[in-house]
């Protein structure tokens, strides 16, 4: 490789390395473990995690206006292990208790030592239809990740 080409290749590598380092540290600082209900209950109390599960029919309790909602989620195929979730933010329009259309739920928050999950973010998705899947970002309490 000529001297000039070497110079530019190194220059390019420096840029890539700089960005890579930036990305690496940003990554390390913002990783969120994504668990199923069973995995989370096995891991125990954790902060700032994400859990996915299906809404257990009949467990959705809406408080009064402005009060948190409560519900349970479980892993499809393991109905005996449920997770009790409270959420005080804005409830997405897709989030509803319909036995005919199971709602997939993703919550971000803390798994507390009392066994409940304190969610600060709620995404709801209905897997059977595209247009219902679009809704899970509606009217959330705060922008995701804040």
């Amino acid at each position: 490789m000529s001297g000039k080409k070497l110079k530019f290749t190194i220059g390019g590598l420096v840029v890539v390395l700089a960005i890579g380092t930036l990305a690496y540290f940003a990554f390390q600082g913002n990783m969120v473990y994504y668990y199923t209900v069973q995995e989370l209950t096995a891991v125990g109390p954790s902060q700032n995690v994400r859990v996915a599960g299906d809404l257990v029919n009949g467990t959705l309790e809406k408080g009064g206006v402005g009060e948190p909602i409560k519900f349970k989620i479980y892993d499809k195929g393991a109905p005996d292990r449920t997770l009790f979730v409270t959420f005080a933010g804005a409830v997405p329009d897709t989030f509803k208790d319909d036995p005919a259309n199971p709602v997939e739920v993703v919550v971000d928050g803390d798994y507390l030592s009392d066994g409940t999950f304190d969610a600060d973010n709620l995404l709801a998705k209905c897997p059977s239809k595209y247009e219902k899947a679009l809704d899970d970002k509606t009217a959330q309490g705060s922008a995701p990740g804040r």
Partner: protein
């Protein structure tokens, strides 16, 4: 009717397969009948796919609910506008839309190249037909991907399930179409690049023949992205416009690499450099468009969009792997033919700044891709699924974006090949002065957010650079033509649409960045539960709950709350957020309201209400400068249109100039 549609798809498979074989035989043996036959296959494909599309539209308009797809996405109450757009509301229909756009583009390409690129064209056709074959096979073979499937059991329900009210928004009608126009558009330069590699015709003709396609694809993909963001902002109601959701990222990635490609082919045309880099970029862009199409429907990454689980995944993965392997392999085998005539001369040159920003764009794309793919990778490798959200993406993109802006500003000020200190210093003086003045102003007015200060200062720098370019060009033009300044500016731009259209796009980008900076750095958000008459304070604004109205129609229950927005007692606006509940569909729809001006949006969402007590739970977001995002988007679109606008005189002038340069290099 569904039989005809399905048969049309089967024909599409057969015609594509035939066309591939015929074109390849024609190309290898030089027998013109085969080449012609391949071209006819491309036209025939267009006809057959158009037929399939028409059948689906007819079924939608006739409200034929025996079609599973028509049942799933429309209902008798749906307006005609949304009934037609339900064509692409779901997985199967959107695949057909992709194929339709591809077939039409292919027919145009064949027609455009009746008298040129004759060696390339058979290969171009066979590559495009391979993509078409892929999509047609998907629709025929994969469960849930057939737009003409009938309901299981052959039932014909009396009414359809209906379109989700969230999609009844003009933005959501245009977003998929423009995004797909963008995706498919990029397959044209990709096919030409591959054809150029195969035929070893690695001059500039493949770039020049596809330049307008690249610009159009870039333009449409951009519109798709920004309309998606707009829709998220006004309809989804969470107060923002971009959440780094995997599917948002999916259409952003090819746009990033496409932007890089767009710029670096300019360097190849002007300086005959970066030939390998350009091919790598278009391969990346094409693969990312397929990847983007895949992400919206695979269900592998939980996201806003995912069409849901399906068996489509393995097909897409296989196709992407094959496309990457073949195209990179082909590139590798032709490396010796891709030696550039010129080299980079100096770190401080326009070429280097172009390349640097190019590298940054690609690095941005890879970083975003990393964030998108990591959950899958980590699960495969360690068994733990790890995700990253907006904080990761924002943390990375912010500093990179600032460097990117700096280089964008510097680039037109530096000379080609090697910049000397004296003339660079002269060029820098005015823009640097302006940005220092802006910096001082910001500090004097009390701004302390470092990112915002840096962003606005650099924005001023870039804008000053661009204004300087326009001013210089106008001055020179006036010397020649004696026109008045306005006319000189207009004719300058119109006679050099490529260059000055591009500068207009850059102005738009800066405006978008200003909008993003304001709405992120200075965003304020509050939630409160109020009874009638009560107020809440958000930032410097006060919102008072004025009145409540609830009513019931035969399809929905509605709650409306009216707020008065004041600042220090002075009336500013009235906002009326609404919450609707569609009884039959058991579907809630939150409709935000906002008061919008150039300096900020006051964005109000009615989270919950009680008709009995009149209590309302609301979320209020103050998004400063967010309007500039939309204005900037509009300016970008406008600039792109100017740049794309056909101009034979300019084309001839530039072609002559490059030819002269090429001859100079040879001597």
């Amino acid at each position: 009717m569904s039989q005809i549609g399905y048969t049309a798809l089967l024909l599409a498979v057969v015609i594509s397969a035939y066309g591939i074989v015929a074109s390849l035989i024609g190309a290898r043996t030089g027998r013109r009948q085969f080449v012609k036959s391949g071209e006819h296959a491309a036209y025939a494909l267009c006809g057959v796919v158009a037929l399939a599309a028409i059948i689906l539209i007819l079924a939608l308009l006739a409200r034929d609910f025996s079609f599973e797809y028509v049942y799933g996405y429309t209902s008798r109450e749906l307006s005609w506008f949304y009934t037609i757009s339900a064509f692409w509301a779901g997985n199967a229909g959107s695949l057909l839309l992709w194929l339709l756009i591809l077939a039409i583009f292919m027919a145009v390409v064949v027609s455009q190249n009746r008298r040129k690129n004759r060696e390339l064209l058979p290969y171009v056709i066979s590559i495009l037909l391979t993509v078409a074959l892929f999509f047609s096979v998907l629709m025929i073979v994969v469960k849930g991907a057939n737009p003409f499937a009938l309901n299981p059991g052959g039932v014909t329900p009396a009414n359809g399930a209906g379109l989700n009210p969230m999609l009844e928004n003009p933005g959501m009608v245009f977003h998929p179409v423009t995004t797909y126009l963008g995706y498919v558009g990029f397959s044209i330069p990709f096919a030409f690049a591959m054809g150029a590699l195969i035929t070893r015709r690695l001059g500039d003709s493949w770039i020049r023949s596809t330049r307008r396609w690249t610009l159009l694809a870039w333009f449409f993909l951009f519109i798709g992205n920004i309309v998606g963001a707009w829709w998220a902002y006004v309809t989804l109601g969470w107060g923002g416009y971009w959440a780094w959701d995997p599917v948002e990222n999916a259409s952003f990635l090819p746009w990033l690499t496409g932007t890089a490609f767009l710029h670096s082919v300019m360097i190849q045309e002007k300086k005959d450099m970066l030939k390998v880099w350009n091919i790598v970029l278009i391969i990346m862009t094409f693969v990312l468009t397929i990847f983007g199409t895949f992400l919206t429907r695979s269900g592998i990454i939980s996201s806003v969009h995912s069409f849901g689980q399906g068996s489509l995944g393995p097909f897409f993965v296989a196709f992407i792997a094959l496309a990457l392997a073949l195209s990179l392999g082909l590139l590798f085998s032709r490396l010796d033919l891709l030696k550039s005539r010129n080299e980079l001369d100096s770190f401080v040159s326009r070429e280097t700044s172009f390349l640097l920003n190019n590298l940054i764009l690609v690095a941005m794309a890879f970083t975003v891709l990393w964030g998108v793919l990591f959950p899958i990778i980590s699960e495969a490798v360690t068994g733990n699924k790890i995700t990253v959200g907006p904080p990761f993406f924002n943390q990375v993109m912010r500093p990179i974006g600032l460097v990117f802006m700096l280089i964008t500003g510097v680039c037109p000020l530096i000379a080609w090949r090697r910049a000397s200190f004296t003339n660079t210093r002269k060029n820098f003086a005015y823009p640097a002065g302006v940005s220092i003045a802006v910096l001082a102003l910001l500090l004097v007015f009390g701004m302390r957010n470092h990112w915002a200060i840096a962003s606005f200062t650099l924005a001023a720098f870039v804008l000053a650079t661009i204004i300087l370019e326009f001013a210089r060009g106008t001055w020179v033009r006036r010397q020649m033509s004696g026109e008045n300044p306005a006319k000189a500016l207009g004719s300058l731009t119109w006679r050099n649409k490529r260059r000055y259209g591009g500068y207009i796009v850059h102005v738009g980008v800066i405006l978008v960045i200003i909008g993003i900076t304001g709405s992120h750095a200075f965003k304020q958000e509050e939630k409160a539960t109020l009874a009638k008459g009560e107020s809440m304070t958000v930032g410097k604004y006060e919102l008072t709950y004025d009145s409540f109205n609830s009513y019931v129609t035969n399809e929905k229950q509605v709650g409306e709350v009216t707020f008065t927005v004041t600042e220090k007692g002075k009336y500013l606006a009235t906002v009326k957020p609404v919450k609707e509940y569609y009884v039959n569909k058991d579907q809630t729809w939150t409709r935000i309201d906002r008061s919008s001006n150039l300096s900020r949006d006051i964005y109000v969402s009615l989270l919950d209400y009680s008709a009995a007590t009149g209590k309302a739970n609301v979320q209020v977001d103050i998004n400063p400068l967010v309007s500039w995002l939309w204005i900037g988007g509009f300016v970008m679109a406008l600039g792109a249109i100017v740049a794309i606008w056909p101009d034979r005189r300019e084309q001839r002038r530039l072609a002559a100039r490059y030819e002269r340069q090429a001859r100079l290099h040879e001597s």
